[in-house]
Amino acid sequence: MNDFLTWTGVTGPVLNPILGVLTVLLILAWLAQLVLSVLPAGAAGAVLRDGTLAARRSPAELAALAARYLLLAIVAVILAYLVLGLVLPGLPAKGIIGGMSARFWPVWLALAVTFALSITYKRHLGLYGKLYDSPIGMVGFGMVMFWVFTAIFAPLIMTHDPLSQISGMKNVLPGAPVPGDGGAYYLLGGDNLARDVFSRMVAGSTVVIQIAPLATLFAFMVGITLGLPAGYYGGALDTVLSFAANLILAFPVILLFYLLVTPEIVSSGLPQYIGMLLFLFPLIFLAVMINSRLYVKPRLRSGLIAAVAVIGGWLYLSLLSSPGTPVDILPPALDLIEVPGNILIVFVSVVFVNAPTVFRIIRGLVLDIKSRDYVAASQTRGEGPWYIMLWEILPNARGPLIVDFCLRIGYTTILLGTLGFFGLGLSPESPDWGSTINAGRRFLSIYPHAAIVPALALMSLVLGLNLMADGLREESLRD
C-alpha cells in the first residue's frame, strides 16, 4: 500500500518556505504602497551641485518596484514547481502539482509552440498578433488555449476512465493511491461515486470546448442574419424582430431552460423544431453572402451556392435527425453526424438564449454605421442592399463583434454550467463541469474537492476569455 501523495513532492521542503516568505513580502509591499500613496509626497527631486534637479524615487514608487519584482519571483517559483514536476522521476517525488504538470505535457508543448510561432510572426498576424502586445490579453489567451489543448489531448492526459469506478476510492482526498495498482493515484481525489476527479475535469473540458464556441458561432450567425436587415431597413421588420428579441430577453434564463429542456417538452419535439429554424440561418447567411458578392459571375456563384446547399443541407439534416425522436428524416445510412439527443437540445437552447442579444448588438452597430460616407458611396454606386450589409457594414463592425464573441463564449460556458448545475439536459453521468459541480455540492462541507476542481476549471476558462476580450478591446481601440 502506497502512501498518499503530498501536494508538492520532494520540491516542497525547499520551495514551500520560499513561496511563503515571498507571498508575505508581496502583501507587505502592496500594503506599504497603499499607505505610502495616501501620504503626501515629499520633495520631488534632489538639487545637485550644479543646480540641476535629479529625480528621486518616492517611497511609494520603491514599494511598487519591490512588489513587481516579488510578483516575478513568485511566478518563477510556481514555474519551478511545474518544470520540476516534468523532470523529476516518479510520482511520489513529483507530488500532486508536479504530477499534474507531468500529465499535461502535450498541453505545455503545444502552448510553447503556439506562443513561440505567434510571437515571432506577430507583425504579420493582424489583430491576433496585436494580442501579444498586451500582457493581459496574452495571459488570457494562454488560459484559453490551455483548455483548448487539454480538450484536444484529453485521452493522453487522463489518468483513469472518467466514468469507471474503483472500489475503495469513494470521496478519497487528493493524492490517494489506487489499491492494488502499483503506480496509480487519484491526483485530485475521488468523487462520491469513486471516480477520478482529475480525469473527469479533463474530460469535461472536451464537452465544454466542443459546445461553447460552436453554439456562440451559431448564435452570431442567427443574430447577424436577422440584425443586419433590421438595422438597415428599419420600419415594420425592425419593430417585429426587436419585439421578438425583447420577448426572449425578458424571460428569466432559468425558466426558459426549464421550459425547453424538461423531458415532457423534449418528447413533444419542440426543441428540435426550434433547432430546425435556428440551424437554417448559417445556410441562409452563407448563401446570401456568396450571392451578394458573386452575382456578377453567375456560374461561379451558382456552383458555390449549390455546394453550400448540398453539403450544408446534408450536415443540417444529419445534425437534426436522430432516430427515435419526432424529427427522424434521414435514414441511418446517410446520417453523417450522430449527436446524442440531449446534447443537441442543450446546444439549441444555448443558441436560442444568446441569439437575441447578438441581434441587438448588430442592430445597434448597423444603425450607427449606415450613416457613414462609404455606405452612401456604395449606395450611389448602385450596390444591392445585401452587398452593402454584408461586405460594407459587417467588416467595419468587426472590432466590437470579435470582442463580444470572446465574451459570449465565456457567457455560453457559464450557461452550460448553469444547465448542468440544475441537472438539465446533459446526462447525469456526463463529466461536464456544471453537472460535476451539481453532483459534488451535496457533500461540499465534508469533501469539497469534488465540486471545487470543476468550479475552478470553469472559472479559469471564463476568466481567460474575459481577459483576452479585454486585451483585444484595448488593442483594437489603439488604432
Binding site: A64, I136, F243, N246, L247, A250, F251, P252, V253, I254, L255, Y258, L259, T262, E264, I265, S267, S268, L270, G410, I414, G417, T418, F421, F422, G434, I437, G440, R441, L444, S445, I446, P448, A451, I452, A455, L456, L458, M459, V462, L463, L465, N466, L467, D470
Partner: protein, 360 residues
C-alpha cells in the same frame, strides 16, 4: 413624455401577455397534462382514464380558451354530471349558484399549487418576501461596492489602482454564482477545509465554522452568520459588471471639456471628482443597476438552490421540476413583471436624470 409613457406601457402589456401565453402553452402541452393527470389521480391510469380525467377537469378545451379562463377574461368552464355541477370557479362542496362566472388572475384567483397543496397566491407572497430580504441585502452590498470600485478606477484611467481594480472586476464577472458559492462554502463554511478549522483551533470563533453553509435558518431570522455567504455569492457576480460600466462612464466624463476647464481653473482633483464628475458619471450606472434586476433573479434561483433558502427562486425550481402548472405560471408572471417594470423604471429614470434629454 406622456406619449412615451403610454407607448412604453402598451408595449409592456403586450410583452407580458405574449410571455405568459408562451409559458401557458408550454406548460399545458399534452405530455404535461398527462403527467398532471397521473400525479393527481393515479399513476397507473390507462390512456382512456387519462383522457376522461383531462376532459372532466376542463383541460380538453382549446388552449386559447383556457388561457382566457386563466386570465379571467372568459367565464370559467362548468359541467353538469349526474345532476351535480362542477366548474373551474366552483370550489368543491359549495353552491354553484353563488360561484362567480369568471375566476382568473384578474379576479385575484391564482389557483392551487399541486406540490405544496396550498393556494398559489399565499405561497408566492411568503416566498417573495423571503427573496425580497435577500435582494435587499444584495443591493445594499453590491451597489455601493461596485460604484466605489468603478469611480476609483475610472478616476485615473490607466493608473496602477485602475489596473488592479479592473482585473478584480473582470475576475468577478468570470465567476458565476455556482462557482463562487462553492468556493465560498469550502473556504468559510466547511469544518474540514478552508479557514474555519484554523480559526476554531485558535479560539477566535466559537462555532465550528465561520459562516453557515445553508441559509434555511435565515427564514426565521437573518443573522450575519447565516446570511453572509448567499448575499456575497450573488453580489460578487454583479459587482464586476456594474463596476466596469461605472468605470467606462467615469473615464468618459473625466476626459470631458468641462472637467479640463475646472482643473485649469485650479479646482482641486478631489473637488473635481466629487462635485463635477460624479453626478454625471452616475447616470449610466443607474440604468445598468436597474437592468441588473433580471440578472439578480437568475442568481437568486441558483443561490437559493445552493444554500437551500426557500424563497422565490427555490419555489420556481420546485414548480418547474414537479410540473406544478399554476405555481409555475404565477412564478413566471412575477418574473416577467419584475423584468418589465425595471426596464420601464430604467427608461424613465434615464430621461429624468439626464438633463440633456429632460430639458430638450
Amino acid at each position: 413624455m406622456l406619449l412615451f409613457l403610454i407607448r412604453r406601457v402598451a408595449t409592456m402589456l403586450l410583452t407580458a401577455i405574449c410571455l405568459t401565453f408562451i409559458v401557458f402553452y408550454l406548460t399545458n402541452l399534452p405530455p404535461n397534462l398527462e403527467k398532471l393527470a397521473k400525479s393527481e389521480a393515479s399513476a397507473r391510469m390507462s390512456d382512456e382514464d387519462v383522457a376522461s380525467w383531462i376532459e372532466r377537469y376542463g383541460y380538453a378545451q382549446p388552449v386559447l380558451v383556457r388561457y382566457g379562463e386563466w386570465l379571467g377574461l372568459l367565464p370559467g368552464w362548468t359541467r353538469s354530471e349526474d345532476g351535480e355541477i362542477t366548474g373551474r370557479c366552483i370550489p368543491r362542496g359549495s353552491d354553484p349558484a353563488e360561484a362567480p362566472a369568471r375566476c382568473g388572475i384578474l379576479q385575484g384567483n391564482w389557483g392551487t399549487s399541486t406540490v405544496f397543496k396550498a393556494p398559489v397566491a399565499e405561497i408566492i407572497g411568503t416566498r417573495l418576501a423571503a427573496t425580497g430580504w435577500l435582494m435587499f441585502w444584495v443591493m445594499a452590498v453590491m451597489v455601493p461596492a461596485s460604484l466605489l470600485i468603478g469611480v476609483l478606477s475610472g478616476m485615473r484611467e490607466g493608473s496602477r489602482l485602475d489596473r488592479g481594480l479592473s482585473i478584480f472586476s473582470i475576475a468577478s464577472t468570470a465567476t458565476p454564482e455556482y462557482v463562487s458559492g462553492v468556493v465560498l462554502i469550502a473556504l468559510f463554511a466547511s469544518s474540514t477545509t478552508g479557514i474555519s478549522p484554523l480559526l476554531n483551533s485558535w479560539g477566535l470563533i466559537e462555532d465550528k465554522t465561520l459562516f453557515l453553509g445553508t441559509a434555511t435558518s435565515a427564514l426565521d431570522g437573518i443573522t450575519f452568520w447565516n446570511f453572509t455567504l448567499p448575499v456575497m455569492t450573488i453580489a460578487l457576480y454583479g459587482i464586476g459588471y456594474i463596476a466596469r460600466m461605472t468605470r467606462a462612464s467615469m473615464t468618459e466624463v473625466m476626459t470631458a471639456q468641462y472637467i479640463r476647464t475646472a482643473r485649469l481653473k485650479g479646482v482641486s482633483f478631489r473637488n473635481v471628482v466629487m462635485k463635477h464628475a460624479l453626478r454625471n458619471a452616475l447616470i449610466a450606472p443607474f440604468t445598468v443597476i436597474m437592468l441588473q434586476f433580471p440578472w439578480l433573479l437568475n442568481g437568486v434561483v441558483i443561490v437559493e438552490t445552493l444554500f437551500n433558502y426557500k424563497g422565490f427562486g427555490w419555489t420556481l425550481v420546485q414548480a418547474a421540476g414537479n410540473n406544478d402548472i399554476e405555481l409555475l405560471l404565477a412564478c413566471s408572471v412575477v418574473a416577467v413583471i419584475v423584468v418589465l417594470v425595471t426596464q420601464l423604471i430604467s427608461d424613465i429614470g434615464y430621461v429624468f436624470l439626464n438633463p440633456r434629454i429632460r430639458l430638450a
